[in-house]
Symmetry: D2
Subunit: 277 residues, 4 copies
């Protein structure tokens, strides 16, 4: 699968503001970045950062008062391998040290509070892929996808109570149920083509099953194997597409994703990132 991403953000910066953008596709084994361009107007010195463990990439800069435009384009080949049916669940003593902390509760995923509910709802499902699929299905069937029903402070516990939310909330609840059942889980943010516009940033989750991370999308808005990964994190706070320190308002956000099944051959050796400031 070859995906073309085109993101345009326009901000009204009311006072000098430090931006930390997280728009660029991740360094990740399942995808190959063929071409990429990030433009900021007015031209500003950009600082790049790649998280060495997660592969998340950030661009930081100071924006002056005035209008700010961000334009990001990328061509990415996604090669996510679907999991083998029947994939099992690692017993806790076989969860690697670096993965173990994905069992911990986080700001938006209170797995310490939802332990009994998770046991009750999913203890009868067969361990492994089927259990996490049961979690994802339950969320799809019981949480209404309702734009505007949650905000940046909404947590999985609240979603479990109010029974409505958006993709981020669906994913948080999936992460929470998994962790409550001793299955390491984390949030994945990225781009994917939706049948129903408008396109937007998307959030799904992945669970650690028998030695690999497996993606699940409780919204069922798009096939998980098509997601172009931007960020991987404990929860949404780690993968926000923009974190601003100052005073700026997002005036518009346009996201276009195009997918084509047969990707042309990549030209090796070509410099991929051409950040134009």
């Amino acid at each position: 699968m070859l995906s073309s991403i085109d993101v345009k953000l326009v901000y009204d910066v009311a006072e000098p503001t430090h931006f930390c953008l997280h728009l660029q596709v991740a360094d990740h084994a399942d995808q190959h970045l063929r071409e990429e361009r990030l433009q900021v107007e007015p031209a500003l010195p950009l600082h790049d950062y790649r998280d060495p463990v997660k592969g998340n990439r950030f661009v930081r800069f100071d924006a002056p008062k005035g209008q700010l435009q961000v334009h990001y384009r990328a061509e990415v080949e996604v090669n996510y391998a679907l999991p083998t049916p029947g994939l099992g669940e690692a017993p806790v003593n076989q969860i690697p040290d670096e993965v173990l902390h994905f069992l911990s509760p986080t700001r938006y995923c209170e797995s310490d509070l939802l332990g009994n509910a998770a046991q009750q709802l999913f203890c009868k499902a067969p361990a492994g892929l089927e259990r996490v699929q049961a979690i994802s299905d339950w969320i799809h069937d019981n949480i209404a996808y309702t734009p505007g029903s949650s905000d940046a402070t909404t947590t999985a516990q609240q979603i479990f109570v109010q029974r409505q939310g958006v993709c981020r909330d669906f994913a948080h609840l999936g992460v929470t149920f998994c962790r409550a059942l001793n299955i390491p889980a984390r949030l994945v943010a990225g781009y994917v083509f939706f049948d129903e516009p408008p396109q937007d940033f998307h959030a799904i989750f992945e669970a650690w099953l028998d030695g690999r991370w497996v993606l699940f999308d409780p919204t069922r808005m798009a096939p998980v194997e098509r997601l172009v990964r931007v960020g991987t994190g404990r929860d949404a706070k780690d993968v926000a597409f923009a974190t601003l320190f100052g005073k700026a308002q997002l005036l518009s956000k346009d996201i276009a994703v195009r997918e084509s099944e047969t990707p042309p051959a990549a030209t090796p050796g070509q410099p991929l990132l051409r950040a134009v400031a």
Copy 2:
């Protein structure tokens, strides 16, 4: 059913404390108080209060520093009529004015937050008695009775999340689901014989169905028709057995309830309350 109640409370009063006790059986059409005695030691001037609408009875007094003993005994005939099977649900426009406010959320019953969950879980149950029975059954099946898992500030929302609680919590969740479905509901506190000791204060709920209040006990600890009613309220704060203003510690609480199927005839005209101070 004739029930004999015997309650002994011992407090260590660390500084002069105002007591508001709510131990006495209620004025209520379903029960007939045959004999009653309330003793406080040391002897103190007691002030009685009966809520003219709900029939709840309170005794207020100022306790000095030192040990305080309260002893309450009563003999009560309970004649609760079980509801007709198939009892329906009043449409909102037929709920009487004085009953309407039992649809409102209260401190421990956030029916405004649990609306979607209630719809989801119980919308398919037939309206009326069967729906409230479905609510009561769901609570019994999904909430673990776990002493110590909740405290005086725990709300129905928390119980719905943590999936464990005690009788008060079970009742609050029942009240909450009913209100969320436009069925007026309220908390009922009282005495009842439990097969499994120790005896204690009990809390259940009642729902307003087709012109009458119907009792439900999601704990299934005792038949509802045997409950000797002490208090009726919006939620637990209205029917606490003791509210203290000052500094006192409950050292011991002994409650004995005996039930006999064939009550001897009551002697009319006899003064019922003999508060001995």
Copy 3:
């Protein structure tokens, strides 16, 4: 003070909906209703209800699908007597039985959770009028009046944390602090002229001090002695201006309040309520 109230509400009723409106000025010793008219279009059978204890008045009716207009006009003389400076605080054992329950926490006023904070902030203020004034001042100084920062489920605890809200939230926090300090308190909703438009429903609170209820407005948007009282309740759920059961959307809400210092003499014997359906 003579106040003229003019309220126009327009609803789009999407499906048959039961309305319970609470727009009419209360039966209350501090105010004298000189003239009043309530019109609903289309013409519908209206059912009136007056709460015998609080004096709150409700109109209930079934609205069919379509547009619904409500027009309420009233002329009211308000004679609220400002409290004597130095008014004290009743010790708990002198709080009347019917007033005692205004110490209890309610849905939006978790006085059981904010006890320590209230003690900490206000224990040094002189008991009585000055303490409640200190509470009202603290709220004014520490909570930002920010329309849109809260919603119908926001509680005093949240306001204490987020430090912003609207009049209803200010009043809830006042009620909560008072109750936490064993001062009975309740919410008061009504009409008052604001210097800064737009006019709207207003919410303030009153505390029970030495035998009388005293009004406080932490928003300082208008003098409390000018408030035309519509409702008195434990918290906002008791005094909502409209409670709808069904599916209807408020399209517009226009409220006009005019005040004149010298009221013309009332004509006794005139029928006051002329509900025109």
Copy 4:
């Protein structure tokens, strides 16, 4: 400062349980481990893990049914340099990439909810060391140290409302206020000698000021420069002294800390960790 640590834990393991213990002193520039011994009885295969970034060390093992004893002893030289008075605050654009995420809210530190309160309380304090000291002082003065008033799920928001907690809660609130003011902050767990027994694990926090991490202890139970660091984390979930997967009960916990001002010379080349299983 030379500190001797002696920790004894006894567990009753009811069913086979996976242990992840976090008792050992951290790899950290401010301290030098002179000698250390970890014993588990019965003898079990132990797996060591050191977080390469934070220096936290964990021991994992599978414990069988039965009693389990853990004994940890260490001698550590602590050389924490107190910060220069007047140390400033880094502007956000100078916070290093790896440090930036310590501005994010976490499970127990809802800095996104307490932004206004933090601004209100600390905006007037001079930026830098003095501001964080003001935060620490405020917590000391306004939160009561009350064992039993919080549990493993209590968050900073709750502590801010209830105004009582233990060392972990004090530290969480400090972390939360700092993050809300764009000062990176994190939790530090360790051992320190308390004047008032019993000794226990301790939790404090550190804030990132002008290029270095500076410790603060809002409990004022011990000088921060004496803390033997065990763990550094986003919040308490990262530095729990024991995380158990299974069913085991802590029967006893004995912690002894001795401090001496003049440390004898260390013998270089000696193997430090002698884990005896």
